[in-house]
Amino acid sequence: MSTGTFPPAKPRFFGGTPLDIQELNEKASLLRQEVVRMVAEAGSGHPGGSLSSADIVAALYFQVMNHRPDDPKWPERDRFILSKGHCAPVMYAALAHSGYFPLCDLLNLRKIDCHLQGHPDMNKTPGVEISSGSLGQGLSTAVGVALSMRLDGLPGHVFVLTGDGESQEGEIWEAVMAAAHFGLDNITVIVDANGLQIDGFTKDVMNVEPLSDKYESFGWTARTVDGHDMAAVVDALEWSRGVAGPAAIVARTVKGKGVSFMENEAGWHGKAPSVEEAARALRELRGEEE
């Protein structure tokens, strides 16, 4: 628990005991299993990007971020902003496993009476900081949130997850320009660079690379990591807190990571697995032999 001093003693809300890398990897695997179950049960949704970003999301919710699931609006919390809103399933799984709402809600994703919308809704789901879904907007909104926190002298840090495909949106670069211009120290962008988007490979659809150089040239400090190397991800996220000005982490990932038949397949961007496919995916994620 935070001692209430600033900067808060790390970490965080799991009884003050940091998880080791193996435990964080297990959390990430758990999130992936939830994603497969949720999307399969819903019959629609976006598994590919949720699976590619699961390690990053697990690192944030279970290690790096200061947050209080029993007090979602705690003013001193760090904020997670999902700019690539279609990857809501992995955020919902992290929120539920953190304790923001019951785990059983997850299987009602996208259903008519459930608070878990197809894309995040800040007014429906506890722990969701902003509504998102129209790509490119979340980073701009995050810049506004970071400005507001700076005005109020709040200690929290804003972690924003974007995609490499999302980086084709012009508004991303408007926001990147603004964060540097306003000298924001309290914002980190993690680009889930899985190299795929709906219509195919990002390099073929509309090349956005070199992303790291682009961020640097806009005045950010950027770093590239293997987005599935948990120790490297945690290290980069912690590093980003101390960077003067805005920080970018380009996380090289594999779309559909952890499920062999989904990996590097653009078709799994926004398609639900069948019952049989989901069962196979879950066996793989649990490390059970075929």
Partner: protein
Amino acid sequence: MSEQKPRATREAYGEALLELGRRHDDVVALDADLAGSTKSAAFGKAFPDRFFNAGVAEANMMNMAAGLAVGGKIPYASTFAVFATGRAFDQIRQGIAQPNLPVRVCASHGGLTVGEDGCTHQSIEDIGLMRLLPNMRVVVPADFNQTFAAVLESHDLPGPMYIRTGRPAVPFLYDTPPTGLGRGADVLREGTDISLFACGIMVSRALDAAEILAQRDISAEVVNVSVIKPIDIDTVAASLEKTGCGATAEEHSIIGGLADAVQEVAGELCPVRLGRLGVKDTFGKSGHPEKLLEEFGLTAGDLVSLAEHVLATSNK
């Protein structure tokens, strides 16, 4: 009508914003490289820590405003109406209106009277675009004093709001700033033969038209509809019940704006004949503002002709 020298409603926005900054620490303002024109610059000078110029990047401005609202601020985001509602429509829709955030989109340079800059800068669809959005309150004040009151009042209202101001100086219709917008429709002149509903710069023209009609023994009621959404159903319906016919006048397309808002009330509560004065589903062009209003049929004389036509063809 007051004898004070006419002033633009955008100037009232600038002065009221400055006053809001003095009164409330949670007020922040944003602009997109038009602070001198929208009049937000005075706030920026007085409160530089609470003013954010997005540069020529309206989309980013709207979402930054949304983020500031998420953080508990009351953001006032200004640019020209055409960019605010056209360029950044999706940001207002998904970033502001859908999450029901208290962002005030304060758009200046509404309508044809932008003048010489031409159709690219003349917003004739903004009221319609904003009216379509759930949660959005749409306000078009008629003069300096009413704009000042509306901006001050906006601080304490829930949810998002669109406030449209104009470039040209317009006559004072309210001697002192009203305490607020009230129900959003004021009967400025009582009449019994026809109701003239107007907003923005067309309100003073509707009063002029009523004066001309009076000389022709036609008693016109003039209603200033400053809140287009949610429209003051009771006042609009009561006026139409009394007069039995009406006409709308707005510096906006005849599609989507005040005309539709009044027609919707009439259609559901008191079906009567209604004429529409506005831009007739066409784009604007360059020219002096007054010449444009003449060419596009938005003068007091045009409203007189329309009112007489409505009366002549109404079966009341």
